[in-house]
Symmetry: C2
């Protein structure tokens, strides 16, 4: 990279964005620059809809900073959150491989910076760099595996436990007295993620607090007092 490259050098920002992404992990420097030139950046404010269900997506989109939720809406307006995407995750691949509308809506949960690569560029990339195809395959296979696990008859209690563990891992900060977790979603959002009623989430959290497993700090934070209790698959 040229010595003249300063803190605002767009090319460097682009490469930065790419280096966060596992699927581009093993690109050579020159390839990185070639691709970086094709990348389109978008900044999206918190709360705005990035893509509505039913729209065509003709680009793969990588989350550079911020959080994005993917959700489907049933006909009575109930929301089902399918994924929470954070830094380094990608979405929109469905539209690249199938000529179909987006299966879910994408919405910025925070202010977000996105990197987009359009279909033709991405497909070129897959053809010239088989390792990237392998990385994407690996990522999709992992996502598939995660969904398979949530399928079927797990009890609500264990799904709540799993959700708390997921949040603890992604958003937790070590602290005196336990892990402090800033929740990325409201109770309503958590309910949509779990596919249950808002009130049920409250009740489950209250019970966990009674059991001394967690402690609520306002509405947006939770302190995890007994991590092992969450990991214990008491019921499944």
């Amino acid at each position: 990279m040229p010595l003249a490259c300063g803190p605002d050098c767009q090319l460097c920002l682009d490469k930065l964005c790419m280096q966060k992404v596992p699927i581009f992990a093993d690109l050579a420097r020159e390839d990185l620059e070639t691709i970086a030139r094709r990348i389109l950046h978008r900044s999206v404010p918190r709360g705005s809809v990035i893509l509505s269900a039913g729209d065509r997506a003709d680009a793969i989109t990588i989350v550079n900073t911020g959080k994005v939720k993917a959700s489907r809406y049933s006909e009575d307006g109930k929301e089902q959150i399918v994924y929470l995407f954070s830094e380094g995750d990608f979405f929109g691949e469905h539209g690249l491989f199938h000529d179909e509308a987006a299966p879910y809506q994408l919405e910025a949960l925070t202010d977000v910076r996105l990197c987009q690569l359009f279909r033709a560029d991405f497909q070129d990339l897959l053809k010239t760099h088989p390792n990237i195809a392998l990385q994407v395959l690996t990522a999709l296979s992992k996502r598939l595996h995660a969904l398979e696990k949530t399928l079927g008859s797990q009890s609500l209690d264990s799904r709540v436990q799993a959700l708390l563990l997921e949040f603890a891992e992604k958003y937790g900060r070590r602290q005196a007295g336990g892990l402090l977790v800033r929740l990325p979603l409201s109770r309503e959002g958590i309910a949509s993620y779990l596919g249950v009623a808002r009130e049920t989430v409250s009740r489950k959290f209250s019970q966990l607090e009674l059991d001394g497993v967690i402690r609520a700090i306002g509405h947006k934070n939770i302190q995890i007092l007994d991590l092992d209790a969450l990991k214990a698959n008491s019921k499944f």
Copy 2:
């Protein structure tokens, strides 16, 4: 292919096997033969376990003839069927991209003929034929999309409807008075596929019969009298 090639020519059988599979759809004839030589065939009798959950799978496996179910078992022994694979479907890809144990058990529902391609050969293939990688990506993406759809809070009624439609499409035969569907699973199996109790499936089927939507013919066959009623998403 050589003129001497007779009806038992193994190479031709192999190519036959491969041509059924979408992921090998656009292989050139010569590539087809190269790969065909690497393929291992297995014949597996009905009811036998092809791969136990926890085993390592180091091959991708393609179903040539027959049906295979993929299922997970909870600790109390309850079965959750994750996939039903038929002719042309493939499985075992998870083990190729992740160094992990198989997430589910694979069991032959009928006598089955399988084609297997081992990890190294398959990965070579992906690298030399980017289009195959694209095909696999497409297949996985489609599978992912199907799982996403079943996620969350759909009512049991609509899941039963969806299951009947799936079976009607895959296993139905047009016939006077409606589609005749030979069920690939017992009530118990259907219950495991839906993640509900055996008795509940009976009750839902009975209700549909009362409503004049289906008609049971013995235990293994169902006649669909009102296809539109199944497609109507009355409740979701």
